[in-house]
Symmetry: C2
Subunit: 424 residues, 2 copies
């Protein structure tokens, strides 16, 4: 793994996949087709892309029961405990509607309301990601969203992975449809005969799913378009090289474009981690992916001191940040930009991926400068509440009218004045 001297500007940014013009056209056509032909279009695309002919998209209760039968009890118990942890962490984020009152009778406030409905996309393919189901569904459920829909592409037998179905049931999903790709996004954005539209779509997917989410954005809300995974580890010579290397590789195995970075003032640690990465890499099942990721996007930055290392971390604004230093907690106040911050050697990043409770859907590609982990606020919206009394309007009406006239908006001024005049 390459050890580099820090340059003036470091960045985790990789170009965002915006798709080819052809891919964009395909997605636009699929969406238009689903809007026009509904279920018939879904059936056609499912046959074409997933190679299965479905009479109904809805997952019946029987298939969920079968899924439980296929999973080890111990695994179901782990899913349940993880779900409890995630639920508990997100419940602590709930805020009440609030109001403030003034003696003149004015009442102002914010009414907090859950979204009516949310659709969660779960990718298909060879691997099943039940953790992704938990992380997307549970916050919506805790936020009070009444209708949560899950969509995911079926295999050639017309089934979804058992682990995904179990996670969906444990998270509290009651509507699951076997449909994937851009056609699934179109279906839940605009509705078909058998699938009602939702207000927001979350969850990861391939380039076609990402393009479709961009396309329907505005008509419905979407979560972020996530980039490849990232980790930055801020460590001093109290850290163990083998543990640091293992954590770097846990991101590198996700994707050839994943990015794993160590930032340290210790040249000794840097050299030891570099060696450890090579050794551990050779033993990984996904070593091809991880090797490309480390070669193309891995780096060890050696800094003059810890303060410079923290500067680097803030410039990177990483999705995941581990702090493995003496008195790591003392550094928390200096860290301005990171999606999730893991402090201390026992807080290995996978702890947060699966189990601890905070969300694993995190801002990537430097967007932790201005974005947050998926959270309760993503599934609730606020409405301002304004109640003016007669006295409040009498006291302030003339000022409001003067402000409106200053902006050339006479009808605004008159709307206030007609009330003052009517009361005379």
């Amino acid at each position: 793994m390459k050890i580099v001297k820090v340059s003036d500007q470091v960045s985790l940014k990789r170009s965002i996949e915006t798709g080819t013009f052809e891919q964009q056209s395909i997605v636009k056509n699929i969406i238009a087709d689903v809007r026009t032909h509904g279920d018939a279009a879904l059936r056609t695309y499912t046959e074409k892309f997933d190679r299965v002919n479905l009479s109904s998209f809805s997952v019946p209760e029987k298939e969920i029961e079968e899924a439980y039968g296929q999973m080890k009890d111990s695994f179901v118990a782990i899913v349940r405990e993880a779900a409890d942890n995630i639920r508990s962490f997100h419940e602590k984020q709930l805020r009440p509607s609030w109001m403030t009152t003034e003696e003149n009778g004015t009442i102002l406030g914010q009414k907090i309301t859950p979204l009516d409905s949310v659709g969660v996309y779960v990718p298909g393919g060879t691997a099943a990601y039940p953790s992704s189901v938990l992380m997307n569904v549970i916050p919506a459920k805790v936020a009070g969203v009444k209708r949560i829909v899950m969509v995911s592409p079926p295999n050639v037998h017309g089934k979804l992975p058992a682990a995904v179905l179990v996670a969906a049931r444990e998270a509290g999903v009651e509507e699951i449809y076997k449909v994937g790709g851009a056609q699934a996004i179109a279906a839940i954005a605009y509705g078909t005969e058998s699938i009602a539209a939702v207000d927001k779509i979350t969850g990861p997917g391939n380039i076609f799913v990402a393009l479709a989410k961009r396309e329907v954005f505005g008509d419905v809300d979407i979560d972020m378009i996530a980039g490849p995974s990232e980790i930055a580890i801020l460590a001093d010579d109290t850290a163990r090289a083998d543990e640091v290397a293992a954590d770097l590789l846990s991101q590198a195995e996700h994707d050839p474009r994943a990015c794993s970075v160590l930032v340290t003032p210790s040249l000794e640690l840097a050299e030891a981690v570099s060696l450890e990465v090579e050794q551990q890499l050779a033993l990984l099942p996904r070593k091809e992916i991880a090797t490309r990721s480390i070669a193309d996007y891995g780096a060890i930055y050696v800094t003059v001191d810890l303060d410079e290392a923290i500067d680097i971390v803030n410039q990177l604004a990483p999705e995941h940040l581990e702090v493995i230093t003496e008195n790591g907690l003392e550094l928390l106040g200096k860290i301005r930009h990171a999606g999730a911050i893991f402090i201390g050697r026992y807080s290995s990043e996978p702890v947060g991926d699966y189990f601890a409770g905070p969300n694993h859907v995190l801002p990537t590609n430097g967007t932790a400068r201005f974005s947050s982990p998926l959270n309760i606020d993503d599934f609730q919206k606020k409405s301002s509440v304004i109640i003016y009394s007669k006295k409040a309007l009498t006291d302030n009406g003339a000022k409001i009218a003067e402000f409106a006239r200053m902006e050339g908006l006479e009808a605004h001024a008159r709307a206030v004045e007609i009330r003052l005049n009517n009361d005379k």
Copy 2:
């Protein structure tokens, strides 16, 4: 104004202005040019579009002092009082970072951090909108954003409107640049020699500004792309027709594509409001704009009863909602979708535009189903904090590793296990 029977589906949605292909190309070229040539490009475009040759874009202190000299003291006092109200309402939204502790040593939490920097766009043209400056800047300031930049196109004399400069100073802006259009968005998104880049851009603008914001989104954050203004008034026969009509017109005067709707179970009120609208319209300075808006997008929906009227309102998800009924406050719990809710006859919509305190930047075009007024959360981000103790990892490590292996991510499992083994 047309009185219509309610159909099954009502909607305020108007097509979103996405710009022509030519406009999109112009904007892309301007952005590329500013990224490459910096201030020189800004100077060229400012000469071309604003017809003024500027040696420096920064507004000097002297021009701000001159602006105060040009404004009536009474107006400055109103701006100051409005700013105080806006500040006070937004301060109430502040949340602390929080943590939760467990007996096994686990600490989980959310660290709330203000964005480093925000840029506010203020449109130019014939009218000056100081209220827009207050509404965009003050929440950022209250949220703790250290650097707030304002950009606005200069007039042919190279000046900004006095009211805008006064509002900017009262709101606490310390950097103001005379640059507008797509070139201004490019400058604050990517930086030039004289203007440093920001992390988020808010504020309204023309189609070129809107397209530029879409284009830079992802590299920086943006607020919503606002559509034309909307009001829905839910009223029964306790409402005065002249007041209802005046409020409908206060939105209609904004824009020919603004949308003003009355929803009422009272045919009597419907007929009286329809007449009043015609009469008041004739006397408005901006009657041409308001007439087109009322003709094209105005409607009075007469419903069977109040419950049906509330259903209609929830379907519309209006930007502004006035509730002028007996016991209006009792209906608040039934209103699920609205940007700002004004209750009672003294809570005329302009009260919220200028003075009461809640933000006037609100979700339009039905997006109140899933979006919120501009608020403190828009200028802060959260980072998850995860601290696992030795005991926490010992108790849960095997479960985390099993979950990771279930998803085929062996390096994740090993990152946890290496710690358990090292401690043996």
